[in-house]
Amino acid sequence: MSKNIKFLVSLLTLIIIFIILLKGLDVSKDYSNEKLKSQIDFSLNAKKLFSDEIINISDLFDKNSPSVVNIWASWCAPCREEHQFLMKLKDMNINIIGINYKDSPKNAKNFLSLLGNPYSEVITDNDGTKSIEFGAIGVPETFIISGKTNEIIKKYIGPLTSENLIEIEKLLKKNA
């Protein structure tokens, strides 16, 4: 490769990276209901963790009231930290659906039997694709989904905190 071509190639690469990062700055990290209108694709099928039965995910959601979706893994340390809050949500009779992200079923079951199972149902996501369909970036993530419109009302990236818990409670009441 001649010197000029090398030069032009590196210049062009630089400009492309610059533009992408510039655009990246505008991509909002605030996933509130105004900005994120996307719906959940209810045609997905998934395997249950405890029974190996394949189901359509629309069966998991309650059509009349909002549900919480939580993406977790037994290897994920922050998931342990937030587990106590999920247990509290369960005590409020909230429908929580777990997506078990890139995990071994044995470890996942152990995790739940030791820390308690807050989920009404857990589906497995061995290759991480289901979580991507939900728009997840990593574990843990928690979504509040409206039962009537299938919309994502709110999304939490990272472990839940006690402040989030209060907020979720309010959101669920508002959307019930």
């Binding site: 030069f7 510039l22 030791l114 979580s131 970036i137 990593g138 006690s162």
Partner: protein, 626 residues
Amino acid sequence: MSNYLGNYSLYIALIASVYLIFKSYLDANSENKYLDKNFILITSIQTIMITVSFFSLVAAFVISDFSNETVFNNSHTLKPLFYKVSGTWGNHEGSLLLWLLVLSIFLFIFLLNSRSQDTKYKLLTILFQQIIISGFLVFILLTSNPFKTLYPIPSEGLGLNPILQDPALAIHPPILYLGYVGTSIIFSASLASMISGNIGDKWARHIKKWVLVSWIFLTIGILLGSIWAYYELGWGGFWFWDPVENVSLMPWFCLTALLHTVIVLQKRNSFKEWTIILSITTFSLSMSGTFLVRSGILNSIHTFANDPSRGLFILCFLFILILMSILIFFFNQNKISNTAKENFILSKETAILVNNWFMMFFLSVVLVGTIYPIFLEVLNGSKISVGPPFYHNLLIPFLIPFLIFMSFGPSLKWIKDKLKKFNYNILIIFFVSLLISYVILTKTENSFLLSIPLIVLSIYLLLVTIKDFFVSKSSISQKISHFGFSLLITSILLNGLFSNEFNSNMKVGDERIFNEKVVKLKEVNVTDVDNYKSLKASFEVTNKNSSFVLYPEVRIYQQPLTITSEADIKTTLFSDNFLVFNILKDDGYYNIRYQYKPLMIWIWISTIFISFGGLLSVVRKNEQKY
């Protein structure tokens, strides 16, 4: 008062910077033989001004001057003095001021240290370094001024976050910054040497110290961050592949490659282009780290307060610098005198080249894992997640050839080495390591096929580096660093293979058996401390022939209601025993998590060995034998 002092001294420093940029540019084009006395004078004025500014911020923190917005947001009268001081750089504004302080001090030291160098080269280094300094000054003054005032003056500050009150975290950022900023001198100096055409063995000897110093600080900075995550976050791991951690690891790979390349330049006067490109890349990566962390473009567990206008500024500044260096590189490429001598396949040069390619590979994996999610989100709106499995799957298999190369590469000779007659020592060492690995691997059930060669090779490398202390002719600093590295890899692998944990729900008086140990929850004491309620449990762990007690704690803060768990860790030379507990519902049960982590302390010790080797190389004058 300190607000005005701090603010205006930054303006004076900016004026000095603008003056120095013009002056050095004009002088570099004239044929002056000597460096104008004014340069040292103005640079020292600038350094003093920035120091004054920094210490007026420290003073504002110490006396809790809440008329300063930064102090108000990040401090509290009840904080211990040590954390008041460290609070100065624990936030965005203050940390940038620290960056700036180190930038200017480093330039000043550089000027004092490079008397024997060519004048034009020195002028150009001042020019580039001042461009960076002025960029940071403008950035601070426009978007993140630490001296914004508040009126009316609040009576109490907001910053009393218990998680951030940790000694490792207090000194971690400054050490890491010393490493990052050190790369700026390497960057400026390599661009300057490119233009003035003095790149060669003499220049390599002069810049090698800066490379070593930055590398040592970066290594120790990463170590401290890891120690903090292990002890304070209480998740029981020391590396999470979090984007914020990755941005400190990327310049490290690059700097490690540069460190080896500079040695080739010094000894053999070749690899000139490698040196320049690595210098530019290392600094760009350090700057990108700042960009990625401070702009809020990443989603990370360690989220920092962020602001898009800051991100925009750093992004533009970063790309202007990279663009400038690409232009300089291509337009001055013909000035690099081609002194590359013939290289033979079996030589130290080739071994270092191979090392560089491995470092570039590790760097690319981490780079892709860190920024590809951003790219994909911009390009088609889809999101992917990158977790530890990605890094482990891509990095670990390549450790095998890397370990093989590292076992013989460093002992090759310069220029051309011969395939010696079969070396029986090597064979003996290899069989010993096979034997040790066999003994180790029979003790675990969860070994995969991949872990067998990894364990064998890491132990083999460890034994070879120990053997090198007695027979090899290379320098003692290299031996120590390489030994430290092989110890690190071995400890990490064995730690990963043998770590195990168990979870259980227990009430007072219960016993559980784990790894032939009996864990007994003896009691839980509830006490009221200042602003929280403390539940301190005592667990007795009994082994066949020994026993110890662990005291993990749960703290319940009332306003706002926060529950934190403080793990208790028993550290010995062989293993760490890590215990953390949580409150379940009111039926008297507690959830406990007990982790057994072998050789944890050796991960820290080996990293200290690695940096100690570097330190020896800086202080010893007769490092000629390498």
